[in-house]
Symmetry: C2
Subunit: 152 residues, 2 copies
């Protein structure tokens, strides 16, 4: 049976919530992280994330059904698979980068565990900007519109 929200709840229509329905369970984001690191096989993903194997199986199936990853057979008899990101999965890189930046600033400011070199040569510091004007997005985001908005 699907779990239903409490009787008096009225959840906001929201793409954040919808996205978390796909990747919000424990381990899912770390699975995607491993694929970005180029780790493509079950055992490697299990080891590097810390997920138990049964749960990892469930997460991989769900990510596959959600169109975020696909698996490719690289051996029959016995069947062996590698996992890959789809284009939609690769676009989750933006989410991972903002999570990484926050943790680097607020938890590991003394010693960031992983840094990425950007193609421009600099150590990558991701910044979220408005596509229209190029200014930082967060501070200038005002007045939400749409059916997900509530009358205060």
């Amino acid at each position: 049976m699907m779990t239903m929200p409490p009787k008096d709840a009225d959840p906001r229509a929201c793409s954040i919530a919808d996205t978390l329905d796909l990747i919000g369970e424990r381990w899912s984001v770390l699975v995607v992280r491993e694929l970005f690191h180029g780790v493509r096989r079950f055992d490697g993903i299990a080891r590097n994330t810390g997920a138990s194997r049964d749960i990892l199986t469930a997460r991989l199936r769900k990510l596959e059904h959600s169109g975020i990853i696909y698996r490719e057979q690289y051996s029959d008899r016995p069947a062996r698979y590698e996992y890959h990101l789809t284009e939609a999965g690769r676009e989750l890189g933006d989410v991972l980068l903002t999570l990484l930046k926050w943790g680097d600033r607020h938890i590991n400011s003394d010693d960031p565990p992983v840094t990425w070199t950007h193609s421009c040569g600099a150590d990558l510091v991701p910044e979220v900007v408005c596509a229209a004007c190029g200014e930082p997005a967060r501070e200038g985001a005002h007045t939400p519109h749409g059916r997900g908005v509530r009358p205060a």
Copy 2:
């Protein structure tokens, strides 16, 4: 008792994982979302997220201990509180925006439930760029460095 990883696991040192330890449980991100929408009180957050009240209490306490939110008393007798984002909490806005963008593109492409107007006048489309060169961050992120990196 804290849950321990499986015996054969060797989790990667990673700011993404560390950040998810703070906000990765169900409802936490949606609580932060509500604070960005200006909803500051327990009942409103419960209604708009769909979280049950006991779990919401636990999440609010954890977010508070993590330095992401703080609560301010606006009434004694009976004690009543409003929740607010700290500066660290406000910086999670970048994470929310990338989650929002992904869901808008891949789940709700026909009808995004909430859009934000940016201070420049345009509808906000968040983009993640390299702070050094201004080019998109994701495609150009190569060769990770640091103790969180594994030998393939």
